[in-house]
Symmetry: C2
Amino acid sequence: MKPYPKEKNLDNHSKRGADLEKEINLSNTYYRDLDIALIYKKPTPVQVVRVDYESRNKAKITEAYYRTPSTTDYNGIYRGKYIDFEVKDTKNKTNFPLQMVHDHQIKHLEKVEQHGGIGFFIIRFSYHGQTFLVDAPTLIQKIKSTNKYAIPYEWFLEHGNLIQEGLYPRLQYLKVVDAIYFKEDS
Amino acid sequence: MKPYPKEKNLDNHSKRGADLEKEINLSNTYYRDLDIALIYKKPTPVQVVRVDYESRNKAKITEAYYRTPSTTDYNGIYRGKYIDFEVKDTKNKTNFPLQMVHDHQIKHLEKVEQHGGIGFFIIRFSYHGQTFLVDAPTLIQKIKSTNKYAIPYEWFLEHGNLIQEGLYPRLQYLKVVDAIYFKEDS
Ligand SMILES: [Mg+2]
Ligand SMILES: [Mg+2]
């Protein structure tokens, strides 16, 4: 087995990762309905080139292109704090490939920390059926200090925080946020 | 002159308001470049129905529709606080027509306040060449207590906060945020 197998269709807006995002969206709906947190997926930015106005109220976009987002997947507010995170899903068994993390995401999450917000990654190793929450500054420091193209799965067992799964919410990631970022209060 | 003239193309994704948004986007770029605040326009949500993959890296969307956003125009972080606001631009000389404010925007901004964030409206009366920042709870209370279809321009002179315009940033709206929400610190 090759040490750092390439992920296919990395930036091809494929469906990969769609399940994880769906679970996070459902969890966010639950958190919003119970007034626990106000967190939304940022829409994928689309550059619209041509629109047909068939009827006054239903404009049909007939030519458009995906644009590279400048930021991350999710943001919002929880317990009075600004929350911002990026979601990644890998099928890789032994490593998290660093090509999955883009420069603009690192820069954005660094700025979130700088401005006093809470920034993290939610990373799923689907082979292991495990989803980790990792503090952004911690992962970014690791990314900057490694000379490899990937971070071993074991690193996440040690430095990541396993997110419990359930029915409501599907991914109880705010429990982990409580434990890491609101230690004093809980 | 009719008391509450209707705005044309209200939800038709017209270009109206585009100038104001452009000025706010430029101001946000300035604030980000100087590490003053991290505030972005939320992309307009689009439901993609069909995509042509002509080449591996440039997917062309050939059928898509605008969706109604669930939230507001902008959010981000400033001085450690979550910031969220909606932008409106009216040509109306004497009134701000309430049909411009949607239910989901009111509900969202109420939740922002409830969770400890800072929520407001930026409203431009283009006839007067004036742009006001109005605290969301204040405007929402006014909307809920009036039985009219509009709020008089005079109300904004009294309860709104005029945003100074300049070169950099174009709209100095964070000065107003400082004055209203960070009184003690300045
Ligand atoms: Mg992602
Ligand atoms: Mg608007």
